[in-house]
Amino acid sequence: MKKIKPLATLCMLTVLTAAALSGCSGGDKAAPSDSAGSSGSAAEPAAPDAGSTAADDPFKDHLDISVSWWGIGVAFQKHDEVLQKLEKDFNVTLKPMDIGWDNYKEKSQVWAAAGQLPDIITSSITNDNPATYNQWVSQGLIHALPDDLSKYPNVEKVAKAPDVQGIYRDGKLYAIPRMTYPNTDMWAVDRAIFVRKDWMDKLGIKDPQSFDEFEAMLKAFADKDPDGNGKKDTTGIVMNTLGYFKSVFVPTFPQFGNQSWLKEDGKWIPFYASKQMDNVVVQARKMYTDGALDPDFAVEKAGEANQKFYQNKAGAFAFSVDSVKGATGVKAEWEKNNPGQNFFDHVKLLHLWPAADGTIYRHTTTSWWSESMINADVDDAKLDRILRIYDWLLSPQGQELFNYGIEGKDYTKSGDTVTVTRPKDASGHYVDLKQEYPSMDVISQLAMWRNAASLEDTPANRAAFGDKEVQFVQDELNWQMKNAKPIPTAFDIFTMSTPAKDKLSAINFDDDFTRMILSKEDPVQMWHQIVKGYDGKGLQQAISEVTAEEAKNNK
């Protein structure tokens, strides 16, 4: 007996420690299924009498809903009144799961593999990476939306949009596309080249009418000491991300600007396989070797290079026109770095020059970028709640909140007349709602980008952003509509899925393009070599499949 006792103690200790440790390691994995189980069982008894109680008050049960978004951690930190209103109205608690611009795709892949996807998943796979979307659908990771969406009319409207039909799989829709604009025209101002007009004046440079003139201007920014400080410390063009930079090659090769497929020699091919790439790679390399392109572009992280433009170290900046507005817009950042100076006196937008066929092309792409997906583990009650929230986010009432803030506090309304009552800042504009309510930035964009709303010439926008800021965007939009044509684009191919085309997602074009720019080898030869390497990843097969698919529609 005496002998057994310590041994038993030892055994028990072992078991206890093991339990504690495995609790730590396995806890994360166990948690979601546990909570799903418990919430499921809590919902189930309610389900039979759902007809009576749930119909009376669909928001009776409190629900926790996790949601991922870029920078949501910071935005939700203050837990401001907008967020509180949403949570109170829908009787939910939103659990933020932060993702970053640099690695959000990796993050959701990791979450997917670990079984920890949030209830509302934010990603951009429907048109950036249809292969992953297909995989998630076929592996049952994401929830199909109900066939009958009539309970959620605003969501239904999105689901029925013509170009959304391409992402239905077996008749079901698995994502709520985040519509950017009501039409593809408004993408025109999504790409822009800001340029220092004071530097141009100083160096006697006129608006470039060809790539060569454009390149010469950037080279002069780098070489001719435009800021007059006697040091060679300036560069030509910097970019927010590589995507924005690509627009400078639109006149050379239109489809390069929106990365679409095009028909060449009777076959549908992705832009990178086109003959027209030869000119692009030569030009891109030249910009780099001349110093016209920021020499550090490949080592800087997204958004890092913007500072060079704000701090007078770069003469041009590839970004988006609507980014001029708001508390963290280009104008605000530039003026922060140049106190006492007016942004509009120093900076203007540069217009692209005509392509070889004499046409000026403007940016366009599918009408949404990125989407919300719902975790397959979400039960019916939660799905209903999420869709109700989305329906409200997309409704005119939602829109009113995002435009004017909270009724009674930020504005009053009698009939259709809205009176803004929120305070003004030093420059005489109404304080930015997004500064007042940090969560607004996320909530207002969760279901729809609403870029159109912020581009429109409305009294609300003029009050919020200022007349000049709104005019700046309007002028550009009007110029584009009058003078430029959209890039000829085969929209249906973006979301098309064929076995070999899906595999092309293993191609990382941006990496290879960057590598080509930085290399010392002949750019054209090197590019041909790279594209040949893509054959090993199924390029030729994808081309035949897509061509066959398009032929069915006589394209």
């Binding site: 990791v110 410390d233 020499p295 990496d511 290879d512």
Partner: protein, 302 residues
């Protein structure tokens, strides 16, 4: 027989109790997750999990060896790891010997601190510092420009990447790695030095005849460990320093796996196959190094 083991265990029960957490740690966090290598032979279905995903035999390995990027990463890993063993490994020994030669205690401690300190800075921060230093607008290029020389794109030049990797890792880790040698040196009986001094040995002779033989065993063990670790090229460092411009000389297996597993959405099976491939190679290298050290008369690890 059983009785005596039980008796022995009981007798040393408190020692076993001390051992327990370590055993549990290894079992739970190192051995249990090993079933994940099954993925190398499976087509991963996320919802089915590892165990219920379908088997695909050697397909993942076949996919792997067909990829030219993989072989580039493989070559880079071998070269960078060799460099680490040939360049970085002896540097720590040299530093320990040099610090040991400093006679003033305070100065010795000062040097030790200065060399150890960078170990605590993360690679993310170091990569930022390096960009400020070596980037186009960085200090070095400012100096070059001021001297009328051509600027150098050091961070994006494939030719510069490996030297940068070795130098920056040496700067960061050499002091930390030297600690173990310094500890070994501290354990040498001072009487040996006194005797050698009396016999007229100068400092270099003392180093050769006393210090080096005393730390040689430690060095041999660490060398075996380093070789066993050879195929891990230092993910964190490379990941923070590299960019598409230097893939041809800098992309190691680990970074390649990371990119293709997450960024490119390739199959998890293939990337696990890479990991397994690497582990088997590491294991083989470890045994070869161990065998060599034993053959050369040293004490091996196993």
């Amino acid at each position: 027989m059983y009785k005596s083991i039980g008796k022995g265990m009981y007798k040393n029960r408190y020692l076993y109790l001390l051992l327990l957490p370590a055993v549990l740690y290894y079992a739970l966090f190192q051995y249990v997750p090993m079933y994940g290598i099954l993925l190398a032979f499976k087509e991963f279905r996320i919802r089915a999990g590892i165990l219920r995903s379908p088997w695909v035999g050697w397909d993942n390995f076949a996919d792997l060896v067909a990829q030219s990027d993989f072989w580039q990463a493989f070559d880079n890993t071998v070269i960078i790891s060799l460099g680490r063993i040939l360049i970085e490994f002896p540097a720590a020994i040299a530093l320990a010997l040099l610090i040991n030669e400093v006679t003033r205690q305070r100065l010795k401690r000062f040097y030790q601190t200065v060399y150890t300190f960078p170990h605590f800075i993360s690679w993310v921060i170091i990569s930022g510092i390096m960009l400020n230093f070596l980037g186009d607008a960085g200090v070095l290029n400012q100096i070059l420009a001021a001297a009328g020389l051509e600027k150098q794109a050091i961070m994006t030049d494939p030719g510069w990447f490996r030297p940068i990797v070795f130098l920056s890792n040496m700067w960061k880790e050499v002091g930390w790695s030297a600690i173990i040698y310094l500890a070994a040196i501290a354990g040498i009986n001072p009487e040996l030095y006194e005797a050698a001094y009396v016999d007229g040995a100068n400092r270099f002779q003392q180093l050769r005849a006393i210090t080096w033989p005393s730390i040689r065993g430690t060095a041999a063990i660490l060398l075996i460990l380093a070789v066993g670790n050879a195929m891990n090229g230092g993910f964190e460092q490379i990941f923070n320093l590299y960019n598409p411009g230097v893939y041809q000389t800098g992309d190691i297996i680990d970074t390649y796996v990371y990119r293709s597993a997450f960024a490119d959405g390739a199959s998890f099976g293939v990337t696990t196959a890479v990991g397994l491939f690497k582990a088997v190679l590491n294991f083989a290298l470890l045994y070869i190094a161990n065998f060599m050290v034993k053959r050369l008369g040293g004490e091996g690890l196993v």
